[in-house]
Symmetry: C2
Subunit: 136 residues, 2 copies
């Protein structure tokens, strides 16, 4: 099992423990041309679509198309699009950052550790107090 | 590509054309122990979880556990659970039958062609008139 898959499964387990039903997208080998997120998680009708990334650096760069397809999928499905990111050197846990507010670069988008800490939610916060704010 | 996969992709395309965003579950090789449906489709917050089956006979038998996990996943996620079935000898199209009303047998569940024709919806009906009845 490669490292990316292992990290993703860790996040699946966390979401499962929080009461979400989670579906992983098939491996890229079996990919169709349809848009899709890495993970889709639902908890009694509250749905989040997640693009999952890890990095050892302090800034994460994202391709234009990977963000665009996450937003398209989410709009159609009726899900809230998030980037789930783990900055491996600085923080052990996952941060979920709303994909709609990502900063543009020339070729795509970027997210700094600093911004992730400011705007990101822990997975736990998805199902507790912060939830109401997100939809206010 | 095996036949089951081809049939499933056909259904994915139909749902896509109807405006659903669709996610397929990974192949069984990469299966985790979490519950999951074959397909999860959403259209602006209306979510259906599908177990996909085809048969050349007039009665389809389903294992206890495959139905149980579809119902568990759907309850957690906030999706409506359906069996998507294609009776290949008698009818070319797909019928979507609510999984909650399936008839029990000794070891699981069964669905006859006759019952599927009576209770089933076409994929198109999911997004047209019948929708309101389903939630009435």
């Amino acid at each position: 099992m490669n490292k990316g898959v292992r990290e993703e499964r860790e996040l699946v387990k966390i979401l499962d423990r929080l009461g979400f039903a989670v579906l992983r997208a098939p491996a890229s080998g079996s990919r169709t041309r349809l848009d899709r997120p890495d993970l889709l998680a639902g908890r009694k009708g509250f749905i989040v679509a997640l693009e999952v990334k890890t990095t050892s650096r302090e800034t994460l760069y994202l391709g234009e198309e990977s963000v665009a397809q996450l937003l398209r999928f989410s709009r159609r499905f009726g899900a809230k699009p998030f980037l789930a990111v783990k900055f491996k050197r600085r923080r052990k846990g996952w941060l979920l950052v709303e994909a709609e507010g990502l900063k543009r670069t020339g070729k795509g988008f970027k997210l700094t550790l600093r911004e992730a800490l400011r705007r990101g939610l822990t997975p736990e916060a998805l199902v507790t107090g912060k939830l109401e704010n997100m939809f206010a």
